[in-house]
Structure formats: structure tokens, C-alpha cells
């Protein structure tokens, strides 16, 4: 056991973790932030995607100890005072989610894409999301959501 300090959604936490504890276990089990999901054991599905220091990371593939001193953002940290982030809002208006299980990872990953590339093409979106699996939507409306959010985020930046 070691005590690490990690900032999650703007709040600092000192947590005792085992060396083998994964970042996703730290989030879900220690901090009870259960919006981040685990859908596989081979880093394929991306349901556990969070941001570590602003970059999207599969939290099942990173040790909690590696996040010591880092700033982590989870799906719970994306909305501000109950107002959905434009990406979250676009998933709602474009029906980009069905069962909701892959959604947190999709939203976190897609938001980083738009932050990096404010005007992604449909092809850019489809390739960027290759690390996130969805079984419900056929991706059609996820892609539509991301493109719609990108437009909204461009508007918001002006």
C-alpha cells in the first residue's frame, strides 16, 4: 500500500492504493465515481476513457500510482453546475446513446478530438473513435453527435 495524491475533477484526494490498483479501480471503487465503466479486459472497448492531464487515457490500462500528482477528469467532471457540456448535449439531441454504457468513454474521447481538431471530418471522427466500442448505435448517431458538438464548440469559442 502506498498513499498517492491525485486531483480528480478539480478536487484533491489522498488515497491508499496497492501497487497493482488500476486507475479505473481508484475511480470506481475508492472514489465511487462510477460513471467510468469497465467493458473489457484487453484495452479494446474504451468505456473507461478519462482524461489524465487533459489527454484521453484508458483508465483500465494505467496504474493508479502512475496518476500520482496528475489531474484526472472523468465524465462526472464534464458538466458545469448541471449544464451539459456541448458534447454531452449533442449526444442527447442526436440520439448518440442507447444503453449508455459506452457513452462516458465515447464522450470523453470525442471531446478530446474536438479540442485537438475543432473541425473534424466524418472520417476523422470514425477513425478517432476506433478505440471505443458501441454495440447499440451502429456509430451512426455517435458520429452525428460529435460533428454537431464540434460545430457548437466552434460557435462557443467565437
Amino acid at each position: 500500500m502506498a498513499t498517492i495524491t491525485v486531483q480528480v475533477n478539480g478536487k484533491s484526494h489522498a488515497v491508499d492504493v496497492e501497487a497493482r490498483t488500476l486507475l479505473v479501480e481508484l475511480l470506481r471503487e475508492h472514489l465511487r465515481l462510477t460513471g467510468t465503466h469497465v467493458g473489457c479486459d484487453t484495452s479494446q472497448c474504451g468505456a473507461c476513457t478519462v482524461w489524465v492531464d487533459g489527454k484521453s487515457v484508458k483508465s483500465c490500462t494505467m496504474l493508479a500510482a502512475e496518476a500520482a500528482g496528475a489531474a484526472v477528469t472523468t465524465i462526472e467532471g464534464l458538466a458545469h453546475n448541471g449544464t451539459l457540456h456541448p458534447m454531452q448535449a449533442a449526444f442527447n439531441t442526436c440520439h448518440g446513446l442507447q444503453c449508455g454504457f459506452c457513452t462516458p468513454g465515447m464522450v470523453m474521447s470525442a471531446t478530446e478530438l474536438v479540442q485537438r481538431n475543432p473541425s473534424p471530418s466524418e472520417d476523422d471522427v470514425r477513425h478517432w473513435l476506433e478505440g471505443n466500442l458501441c454495440r447499440c448505435t451502429g456509430y451512426h448517431n455517435i458520429v452525428k453527435s460529435v460533428l454537431s458538438a464540434a460545430e457548437a464548440m466552434r460557435g462557443g469559442a467565437q
Partner: protein
């Protein structure tokens, strides 16, 4: 209530909690005093279990118990039952072997659970599971259908010689023989329907708790039908009366059939929680899901289509082997029989059909319903056969279909395989889909692809499905152990807001929105004043759950029936308040009005009067405004349509790219077009996945080679195009909503369209057959074998 009722693309009420990360899935729940379970699973496909030594595991930190099949037997837990019994051709009953929750004596598939380790933390349980020493004596195993039916094959169950679970048939053999005797042409096909893994992105999980104060069990589980699990647990496995067992299926992250069934793990966490005196939680890891969730499909079929000189279909003969796996899952025997052979007429008028199905045990994970369940296998066989018939008789594949469709003036249409289709319009959906994909310009697109070194192919499939399952008396006569109605309760609150309690279960379908839209339409209540509750046996009167595209058609109909009772009672209250006769009171747009006058009471005013009955017809009408209904369907519903696909094949690599998909479905009356389109999209991805990417590959010894997302190819965003989805509505004639169902259309309709497109693309190089999935390797080899492409 314009803009929120039937036909409105209302954004979903349930989205907000999911988007904020506030969904409540089974694994999110931690109960006070929570403990964890991890299962020790057989690494062998077939092995005698000589001894299980748990002594080291029991000494490991945090371990509370290690339980085995002997403990299950000692406590007399019931065998996990199969809910459907099939009769053999000779009238005898299928072989239904026992299915102990933990293997006893023998393990029969890789992944069969043999011991359960319970500890204070998941990590401790996982560590200790590695210390359980199981002395196996590996035995010969058989995984593939073709091997399992061979003389001298290893036997899964002694009571099932030749590994035959049942040998069943449907249709008129003599009439079919007579049709073939008169045939001008007979077209034959041999094909497989590849085995698939359902892979909902949320792995299965269960959390069981026994409360020794009130002697009551609670199970939180990833289920599509919590009441069914309560029924099976209560009556067959755990053997406790229903009032002592609560089953909650909270937010569930996709099902696709795999979360219908009663699984060992949910039974075991309940049972063991009483033994250890604490709640026990288990969550599958993905590789564990591959070895424990029921798989789908896995058929080998031979089909023959007889045509007369005019190209009319006059007879169909089908023989199928269906893999059951090692144990019979809950609905397994129904899938390759009543959900498969009954659909073999497709949208065509075929006067004589005969189908034989042999279900075969193998040393593999049980096989049961996966999205479509039997109907994809039927449409795949038929649509491949029809395309082959077009090629072999030099007929146009579109015209051949058109010529053989059941016409709109032929409904109701009795097929040769037991079903009676109530309504449909197959010509219109065909025309719509062809227009959407711009079929007349196909030759130009083929030429453009060719100029880029690609082979372009067009594929079509005209399919039908039977869903909205199902009339209870009918399925009972066919071997079902349960009824297939649905229940709903409508509670109108004193100020006129409404809570709906439905037996349907939403695990992505959006019932909290669509069922609320039914209420808006019927009662005129704004959608924000409607709450839809599902998934908890303590809150819902009863329910059969969600599968077979039945929620809106059956659950929605139950809801409408319950609301009819509310409206009728409200009329009596309103008549009293308005001093009119009940017969003169009309209800529309949320208002009770005396016909032909402007005297009216709002729905809210009537609700308030029902709960504050000061001025009230108390002698004849009870206070309160709440009612329930059960709806038992009169028939299946029959969604149908046409799916068109264009692919480009790279002849150098064998890579198939789906470049266009245009579909036109008739799913009956639509509540929410946005959600209906979304259901079609998901089904299409699932169906394209089966056609091009997905396959549960077992080696000859019964090891699952594609047992994780590393080697089982799930369709990804970049693998798929945007989908063109259209609808042409004919309303279901026998339910109050006109709804047919949409959840499975993509998975049923599109796989044959994809393969027909691949074969169309490969026709110029001489390839005439390919099995799913059409992987690059398979396509590349087929091109080379046909002598095409570079050496």
C-alpha cells in the same frame, strides 16, 4: 399534446443521467458489508473433476468461503431449467440434461464454473481463486457440429446418443416432395450460419443479498426480464416463494438476448449470501463473458428451392443442424425451431415447405437467442437461396423477388410453416430501398470502382420476421413453459401527473421516453409529468421483459389497455362533475367534455376529484385513479422490409468495404422516429458484424480461440458507413397500437444483403460461394481458388 406524442422525435428522458455519469448499473452498486465472488472455471472443454482442493485458498487473506458443486448438491439447489420443450418427429420429448449451477463430476465446456471463491475484496477473491487446485482428468471433446454428428464422436451427454438433443420437423413433407417432383428447376445451397458472441458492452454482473431478519432475498442483476429470473429462481433453482425474492435489473448496458437467460452466477450469489451472511457481488470480466454468456446462431444448413417454368417458387426443403452447446439455455430449443423454421417462407408465397432441424450438443458454451434469434438464420438461408436461384436461372434478382412476393391483396396470408401474416406491403419497401440506393445507376458505380481497381457488388435481401412475441396459448402448445403477455400499471397522481409501471425492461431501447409518449398521446399529459418505472419486481406487478422486439408491441399495448381503463373511469367522474350522462362525455387532448358543448374538466381536475372525493359519485365509483392491464397478443407481429448493400472488394487484399447501406422497413406504427432509426442502425451494425467480422472460433478440442476483444472482431466506427433508413408503415391489425417492432430488423435483414453483395462483386472473378464472416483472408482465398486475381 403536439410534439410529444406518437410520431414525435422527442429526445430521450433517460439520457441525462447517462451523460452525467450517473447511471446506476449493477456493478455500480455496493451494498453494506459487501463481499466479492470470483469463479474458478474449467480450462478444459470436457474433463472429469477428480478432486477440488480449496485448503490453500481458504487460508488466503480475506477469504470467506470456497463453494463447489458438492455444496450446491448438498443444499439441493435445483438444476437450471430450460424453459422450452421440443417434441421429436416421433412424438417423443427432447433430451434435457441436468444443468447444475457449479459443475459436478464433469466439466462440459471451457468456462464451465467449478468453484466459487468469496472474499472481502475482489482482488482477494481473484488471488484465492488461483489457489484452488482442481484435479481434472481431461476427456475427448467435440466443438463443431460436423464433428459432433460423426460416428464415434465424443458424447456430451450419455442420455443423448449421437449428441442429438432433438430431431424435429415442420411442414408437409409429402406436399413438398410433390412440388419438387413438378419443378422446372431446383436450386440447392449448403451454408453455415456463423457462431457469434453477443457482447453487450456492459459485462454481466449480479449482487445477491439475503436478509436474515425478514428471510428475504434481493438480487441485483443484469437482466432483460427480472420477473422471469424471479420465477425461475423461485420455482426451480433457489426454490423460495416469490414474495421472499426481489429481483432488480437497474440500468442495464445492452442485452441483445444474452441477458434474458437464467444464469448460474446470479443464482449462486443469492444462495451463497445466505451461507456467508453477507451480500455477494460478481462482475464478469470480458474474457469470462466470452466463456459464460450464451452464444448465438451456429447452424449448418442445406436448402433446396423448387421453381416452376415461370420462376415461381413452388417448394422449399431445408435441413439444419443447430448447435445447442453443452447445456440447454433458457430458450435455446425454441430458437432453431419456432423462431427459425416458421420464418422460412420469408415474404414469399411458397405453397409447400418442409424443414427438418436436428439440435446437437457440443462441448461449447450454450447457444441461445442473440438479436434476431432464429430469424436471421432463416432470412440468411432463404435470401442466399433466392439470389442463387436468380443466378442459376438467369433471372433478375429483384424481379424474381417481386414475382414471388405475397401481394397486399393476399393478407391475411397463411404460410406453409404455421404462421399467419396479418399485413404487409413488400413491393413498397423494395421500391423504397432501391430508390434510396439509386439502383438504376449501379452499373455506373461498378464501372467507377473498376477504374480504381476495386470490385463493386450490390446485394439485396427482402426479409420478414415474427416478433412482438407472443400469444401465450400458442407458445404453450409449442412447448413454452411460460406465457408471453405483458403487464402495465398506470398510477395517476392527485395533481394529474402519471407514473407508469411496466413489465417491459429498457436496456437501451428508450422506454422511459417512448412509453411516456404513449401516455402523452392517450391522456394528454405533458411528457415531463410522466415517469416510467421498470426493472424491479417489488415495484412492477408482473412482467415478461424485453426481447424479440416485443416491448412497444406487447408492453405498449398493455399500457394502452391500462390507460383505456383510466379514461373510462375518468369519464364517470367527469360526468358527475359536469352533471352529464357518462355516454355524453368525450375525452380528447387531456380534457373531458360534454359532447357538443364547451363544458369540460381537465384530466388533472378529474384526477384531483378522484383523490379528494368531496363532490364524487362515491356510491358507484371508487376513489383513486390507478389501473392495471395484462395484454396477451393475438398473433405475432410481422415487420418486413428490404435491405440493400453495396460493397467494394479489394481483389489484392480481400478486404471488403461496405460503401452504402439503404434500407426500407415496415415496423408498423412508429412512436418515436429518432429512436426507431437508432434501433435500425444498431441492428445493421450487428448484422454487418456477423456478415464480415464476427465469429466465435473453437478449435477441435473445444478451446475458444476468439475469446476476447483482441481476437473477436467487433465492428468499429471506421468499419461502417452512414446508413440510409426509410420506413413504410402498414399498421399491425391485431394490437391496439398498430406497432410491429424494430429492434431486430437490422440483424435479420442485412447479413444476406452483405454476402449477396460480396458474391455479386466476386462474380466476375468466378467466385460463387462464401460463408460468413467474409474476412479478408476468406475472400482472398476464394478469389485465388476461383483462379482470379494475381497469382
Amino acid at each position: 399534446m403536439s410534439g410529444q406524442g406518437m410520431g414525435a422525435s422527442v429526445t430521450r428522458k433517460e439520457d441525462r443521467r447517462f451523460l452525467l455519469g450517473k447511471g446506476k448499473y449493477t456493478d455500480d452498486l455496493v451494498l453494506p458489508n459487501q463481499t466479492w465472488a470470483v469463479f474458478v472455471r474449467s480450462p478444459h472443454a470436457h474433463a472429469a473433476i477428480r478432486k477440488i482442493d480449496a485448503s490453500q485458498a481458504l487460508k488466503a487473506p480475506g477469504v470467506l468461503a470456497v463453494l463447489t458443486g458438492e455444496d450446491v448438491a448438498a443444499d439441493e439447489l435445483g438444476s437450471i431449467p430450460c424453459g422450452w420443450t421440443i417434441k421429436n418427429k416421433d412424438g417423443s420429448t427432447m433430451v434435457a440434461p441436468p444443468h447444475p449451477a457449479l459443475a459436478l463430476g464433469k466439466a462440459r465446456h471451457a468456462g464451465d464454473p467449478v468453484a466459487m471463491v468469496i472474499a472481502e475484496t475482489k482482488a482477494q477473491a481473484k488471488d484465492a481463486a488461483q489457489l484452488v487446485v482442481v484435479d481434472y482428468d481431461p476427456l475427448p471433446a467435440v466443438a463443431h457440429l460436423s464433428a459432433a454428428v460423426r460416428e464415434g464422436a465424443p458424447v456430451v451427454w450419455d442420455e443423448a446418443p449421437g449428441n442429438v438433443c432433438f430431431d424435429w420437423h415442420l411442414g408437409d413433407a409429402a406436399a413438398t416432395d410433390a412440388a419438387f417432383a413438378q419443378a422446372d428447376r431446383v436450386v440447392k445451397i449448403d451454408l453455415t450460419n456463423n457462431r457469434v458472441v453477443p457482447n453487450a458492452i456492459e459485462p454481466r454482473a449480479a449482487n445477491g443479498h439475503y436478509d436474515d431478519v425478514d428471510g428475504r432475498y434481493t438480487l441485483y442483476t443484469t437482466s432483460q426480464n427480472p420477473h422471469l429470473i424471479r420465477l425461475l429462481c423461485g420455482a426451480f433453482t433457489l426454490k423460495v416463494p416469490e414474495h421472499k425474492l426481489r429481483v432488480v435489473a437497474p440500468d442495464v448496458g445492452g442485452g441483445f438476448g444474452s441477458k434474458i437467460f437464467h444464469y448460474a452466477e446470479e443464482l449462486l450469489v443469492l444462495w451463497a449470501s445466505k451461507r456467508v451472511g453477507r451480500p455477494i457481488k460478481w462482475t464478469a470480466e470480458r474474457s469470462e463473458s466470452f466463456l459464460s454468456d450464451a452464444h448465438g446462431r451456429d447452424h449448418i444448413s442445406h436448402g433446396e428451392l423448387a421453381l416452376d417454368a415461370d420462376g415461381k417458387f413452388i417448394g422449399l426443403r431445408v435441413s439444419t443442424l443447430a448447435n445447442m452447446g453443452a447445456y440447454l439455455s433458457t430458450f435455446a430449443p425454441a430458437i432453431p425451431t419456432y423462431l427459425y423454421a416458421t420464418l422460412l417462407s420469408g415474404p414469399y408465397a411458397i405453397p409447400a415447405i418442409y424443414a427438418e432441424v436436428k439440435a446437437i450438443f457440443t462441448h461449447t458454451v450454450p447457444v441461445d437467442a442473440v438479436r434476431g434469434a432464429g430469424r436471421p438464420e432463416a432470412s440468411y438461408l432463404l435470401e442466399r437461396l433466392v439470389d442463387k436461384a436468380a443466378r442459376e436461372t438467369s433471372a433478375d434478382r429483384v424481379e424474381l423477388r417481386r414475382k414471388n412476393f405475397i401481394r397486399t391483396d393476399q393478407f391475411p396470408y397463411q404460410t406453409a410453416v404455421a404462421l399467419q401474416y396479418d399485413v404487409g406491403d413488400y413491393h413498397s419497401t423494395l421500391d423504397m430501398a432501391l430508390k434510396a440506393i439509386d439502383y438504376p445507376k449501379l452499373a455506373d458505380r461498378k464501372a467507377a470502382s473498376k477504374a480504381r481497381g476495386k470490385l463493386r457488388g450490390f446485394g439485396i435481401s427482402t426479409y420478414i420476421e415474427a416478433c412482438g412475441i407472443a400469444p401465450s396459448a400458442l407458445v404453450g402448445a409449442l412447448g413454452a413453459g411460460a406465457g408471453l403477455y405483458e403487464a402495465a400499471t398506470v398510477r395517476v397522481h392527485p395533481t394529474g401527473s402519471v407514473t407508469v409501471f411496466t413489465g417491459s425492461h429498457s436496456h437501451g431501447q428508450g422506454h422511459e421516453t417512448t412509453f411516456a409518449q404513449l401516455v402523452v398521446e392517450k391522456l394528454g399529459v405533458p411528457i415531463e409529468n410522466v415517469e416510467v418505472v421498470h426493472g424491479d419486481t417489488d415495484r412492477i406487478p408482473f412482467g415478461m421483459g424485453t426481447y424479440g422486439s416485443r416491448s412497444a408491441a406487447v408492453g405498449g399495448s398493455a399500457l394502452v389497455k391500462a390507460m383505456d381503463k383510466i379514461v373510462d373511469k375518468g369519464k364517470k367522474i367527469a360526468a358527475h362533475l359536469l352533471e352529464a350522462s357518462v355516454a355524453d362525455v368525450e375525452f380528447a387532448d387531456g380534457k373531458y367534455r360534454v359532447a357538443g358543448t364547451d363544458r369540460e374538466k381537465t384530466f388533472g381536475e378529474v384526477a384531483f376529484a378522484a383523490y379528494v372525493p368531496h363532490n364524487y359519485p362515491i356510491e358507484t365509483v371508487e376513489p383513486g385513479l390507478e389501473d392495471s392491464a395484462f395484454y396477451d397478443p393475438k398473433n405475432f407481429t410481422f415487420p418486413a422490409g428490404c435491405h440493400c448493400v453495396e460493397v467494394e472488394v479489394d481483389p489484392e487484399t480481400g478486404v471488403v468495404e461496405v460503401v452504402d447501406v439503404a434500407i426500407a422497413d415496415d415496423v408498423g406504427v412508429i412512436i418515436n422516429p429518432m429512436i426507431v432509426d437508432g434501433q435500425a442502425h444498431g441492428g445493421l451494425a450487428h448484422g454487418i458484424g456477423q456478415a464480415l467480422y464476427e465469429e466465435a472460433v473453437y478449435d477441435a478440442e473445444g478451446q475458444l480461440l476468439s475469446g476476447s476483444f483482441l481476437n473477436y472482431t467487433m465492428p468499429r466506427a471506421a468499419d461502417l458507413p452512414n446508413f440510409k433508413v426509410g420506413n413504410h408503415v402498414t399498421a399491425c391489425t391485431h394490437n391496439p397500437t398498430g406497432i410491429k417492432g424494430v429492434g431486430e430488423v437490422g440483424a435479420i435483414g442485412v447479413p444476406p444483403a452483405v454476402i449477396n453483395a460480396v458474391l455479386d462483386a466476386l462474380a466476375p472473378v468466378g467466385v460463387t460461394h462464401i460463408d460468413m464472416p467474409a474476412t479478408p483472408e476468406k475472400v482472398w482465398r476464394a478469389i485465388r481458388a476461383a483462379g482470379g486475381g494475381a497469382a
